[in-house]
Subunit: 356 residues, 4 copies
């Protein structure tokens, strides 16, 4: 259910409608738009008496929303959501006509490794730094991440270079800490339907980057985001990272058609992660370009929704081209990550950094 307010409705009137909705035992989600505010209602299990709401001052009409997702839907909010991620070097804008870039190592291994990568990324125009402190690993015997120690290293990267930090939370304990240390809370593909974690992220004060599950349908993907929004956190960014198919030449099949499909159904921004999507170095740059291209709006180049590409591990220990001493050293003390390491140089990143 959606309550559409008049364009000149006052803050007071909006508050009144919300209060009335909550008095019915429901939850109100005011969604301000450029022209008017709409108020999403969730929690209703039966029919709601629309008369009560439609007669309130400032209300235009009540619209039943039939789609399974409500708050993420473009029916609820027609304009693209544009997120501002506060970082020490100013807000990073996600959405609109700029391309946001996220880059960094797969796993945080040492302070030296992270600072070295960050120094190089800084020059290429990347403003969001990602690296895993908590790693969801297929094997219980693989390196599971440095935990809070890793978050502290990321903090230093943040402090020294002014990056916004994106890092994954894998359960409610780690989410508490990620919320404290980082700027964006990542929910990984394996946890896309970990509904307890999604609800916890929905109560967080930081934006959420939600990765598509390996075999998630579009509806399931949007419903996972709906979990986060339904708890009150509207700062959600989606991320396509490849799905699982019979195709065996790449680790996953990057489903770029999901970008226009999401944009048709939802106002949320969507990222593409071509490094997990392909797992092969020589495919990252072509697919990053394709990711940028697929998001261009057909009717007007002004509405290019911004998408982010992650080019991980700019100088991972397992990369043969890298011979800087410190990461090599760290590889001895820490088990090397099993995820593929992809080396992308600065000029390549700079190429991508240019808005269309």
């Amino acid at each position: 259910m959606l309550v559409v307010m008049q364009s000149h409705a006052t803050e007071e009137q909006i508050r009144e409608v919300c209060k009335r909705i909550e008095s019915l035992g429901l939850k109100a989600h005011p969604m301000p738009g450029s022209l008017r505010t709409a108020i999403g209602i969730t929690g209703n299990k039966g029919a709601i008496d629309l008369g009560i709401l439609e007669s309130l001052p400032g209300v235009v009409e009540c619209i039943p929303v039939s789609k399974p997702y409500k708050l993420v839907s473009r029916d609820t909010k027609q304009e693209d959501s544009i997120l501002r991620i506060p970082t020490p070097s100013g807000d990073v804008i996600v959405g609109g006509d700029k391309i946001a870039l996220v880059a960094g190592p797969c796993a945080v291994e040492t302070e030296e490794q992270c600072l070295a990568i960050a120094g190089r990324l800084k020059k290429s125009g990347v403003r969001l730094f990602r690296g895993g402190a908590y790693k969801p690993r297929t094997s219980p015997y693989s390196f599971q991440g440095l935990g809070e120690e890793g978050l502290k290293i990321l903090s230093k990267v943040r402090e020294k270079y002014g990056f916004g930090i994106v890092t994954e939370a894998i359960d409610s304990e780690s989410l508490d800490l990620v919320e404290e240390y980082a700027d964006v809370i990542q929910i990984g593909a394996r946890n896309m339907q970990n509904f307890s974690l999604l609800k916890r992220a929905g109560r967080a004060k930081k934006p959420v980057l939600l990765k598509r599950g390996m075999s998630a349908t579009l509806d399931e993907f949007l419903m996972a985001a709906e979990y986060v929004l339904s708890e009150g956190n509207y700062n959600v960014m989606l991320c396509e990272r490849g799905v699982r198919t019979f195709s065996d030449f790449s680790r996953n099949t990057l489903d770029l058609a999901v970008v226009p499909a999401v944009k048709k159904r939802s106002h949320l921004p969507i990222f593409v992660d071509p490094s997990h999507g392909t797992g092969k170095r020589h495919k990252v740059l072509p697919l990053s370009r394709a990711a940028v291209a697929v998001g261009a709006d057909a009717s007007s180049s002004k509405f290019i929704t911004s998408r982010t590409k992650r080019s991980p591990t700019a100088c991972s220990p397992s990369s043969p081209r890298n011979s800087s001493p410190s990461p090599t050293k760290c590889a001895k003390s820490r088990p090397s990550s099993t995820a593929p390491s992809i080396d992308v140089n600065e000029s390549e990143l700079r190429q991508l950094g240019c808005p269309l």
Copy 2:
């Protein structure tokens, strides 16, 4: 790494080897077999000095295990694991030459509903009752289960009919309660790679039923079980419930070939859940029969280790054939479950209940 003990090694000797392993900062997992005990070692990141261990009294040899899964592997334990699940009416055996049956409603809705279903199942020879108190739902607006209230209802079913109770835990909080109230802790398909939850289940005192993720490879499935065993809980049952494919005539594609594949690689018992696997009533019984058949060992009918799990709603409110008053009533007060409800009558269950 696996330490193979002599067949006449004493308890004392086994304890000594374990103590020595732990003194090296590693974890020891003694796995008693009918002939001898093997001790799995996990936690080793580098090379272990085998000399120290091989020279201990009672040790035959140390074998490096190259597979990513160790404790679940048949290399570690050659005989099928046979689990005893204590219930008020005696142990239910899972593994060996009997077929265990699990049945019950999708979601616990009311005490009346559960007792009615339980009464009918009791007559059909089912000894494990399943029903969800915590429901992982695609939509945040769907009925999420009764929580602890549901667990209390399941307790009454347990008390009144002597069933062992199987129910799902979705996070560490619910796992604490499920461990307290139920006999088997179920980890659902969506949480198969929720590694924090798997570790918590590995520290539980109750057996774990681990369902295969919707797009989990066989290795990922076994590695998820390895997470549970690596924390010390060796009472794990696997469950095939269908995977996600292009095929559109059933909800999922039941991958029965995984049964002999698991049996070749692992000693763990494996269930099949044909109701989630197909989502269609007319396919449940044929596929249940196929599930029983696929587990029969080719060379000798004594080694049938496959077991079938039946989770269809024996008398769910949404079934048109059911006209008993109480479940109908409950459907009004509770949102009806969205999962397909499959009506299987008692004689059908009795048919399946007969061991081959």
Copy 3:
């Protein structure tokens, strides 16, 4: 469109209705049932004047058939189709309450090889012998089959042991020859949507074994069969042989749920081919048993639709257990087949041969 005749309608009346249908430029397909005959109409692009047909003597009613498949549909013919395949040793019945078995080598390589395999299969109760004379190979450089020479070898197997011969046709030229030499024309998975070939098979006088395409939906599978029936050949047997999915532990994912799904929608018999479906020897027997089990009708054992299992290459050259001299010799002169060779012994086949 379906014209339902009265139960006591005469042959003459049925002929009259068919004649009238054809006079409208359409095609009539009389389908005799145990109670009455129905006449399927195909070729109608617009509306047909039902009045003309319904007023003819012997006609009960005309029913529009909305499904995309008509002649294969159970709406058109309620009873299971039971096929009689004439062989030198009498008719082999497919459908009903017996399990038909088909076995033989992947490719026909030499006369010695085929006669040796045939001799062993004869003892195990198999009555249909299959072997490829035309092999659809992924590589142009792989052995493409012996062609007509292979068909002549199969003829000798037929003559000497009384087997019915099942062999694949890959184009219209080979179909002409297969129709001449063999008893059942196989259309392989790669050609399931080779519509020219399907139409040619529909004009053949021999029964057709149609294998499901690697990524064919159920509707596409039934529509492919419809192509054959629509040309007048109603003797079609379907065959599930595994579909392509992300799952990597077996060559294909055997989709056994398709058996009850086909039986619900169609009257055609369905085979299961677990050797292509799994590609692994240790899975063939369990999955053959499962294939038999999945087809058993729940309510009455009288309606068990017969299904056939193919256990290929009872003594293929590449099988390590086989040491007979001639196949070994032939392996030198012929490139060995790339398809997996699975050795199933006679007692195993005999086990399967028993009807339920």
Copy 4:
């Protein structure tokens, strides 16, 4: 096996080597490159005596090729293949740094329909016109194409507007006619492993556009092309058109990562068909842009070898936006095509027409 000739080897020497190869019962495939010629050898089942060939004048060395595909491999020919398709208005270049566009109706329905579409496409810079005269249809009751009548209509389009004509052949009979009337012979996805048809196409004098099968792996795709080359026709263009996955929001999942993957392994040009790949109008333009972007070579913009194929029905009868009288009329006399009809206007095509 590959015979590498000296850069200054004469035509005469090359002919000699080929003659010698053929005298060994093998097939020689001279592949001229910008620096030197390599001669591929196919048909060898055992070891070849390299000494004979390496001692011939002009030969540098003989290299064994281990990949299953040989002639399509970049090992055989390092430079991108650049095809020249002769058309009445001059050669259309496929490969290199231009983007070729192919557009036209799904099925040829009437002369008026085709001429109307062609007239609009002419203005947008498209130089290859495609339309189906032979339609491989899932249902035997769907419109199967106009056959030779359709080819004659395409001839008129060719004559009037100077387009090169691309149209599908579905069997050897239709291929004879397509070869006569059209400029490019299309092999559809359903026939990608119709090896008899591939061989026939390999003996054709016209270039071949080979579409990827719905569940073809990369190796199978390249091997299908190898079939065509192995018969002597080296003018092959590949085409990605989407694969079949669980994902249900689009008809197929466009696998754009196959473009860099093909380019790494093969010298053949590759098209992308986003209209079949997505089946949705609003996704065609974004995915066309992505297709162009994914083919751009990372290190140098001069080597863009990716090309985009656009096959949407520019003014199909079933498009709601189109109200021109003649296509509407034809829709009455011909069953409308079941394939999705996608309306793309001229300025959109012009946008794509610009090389990067």
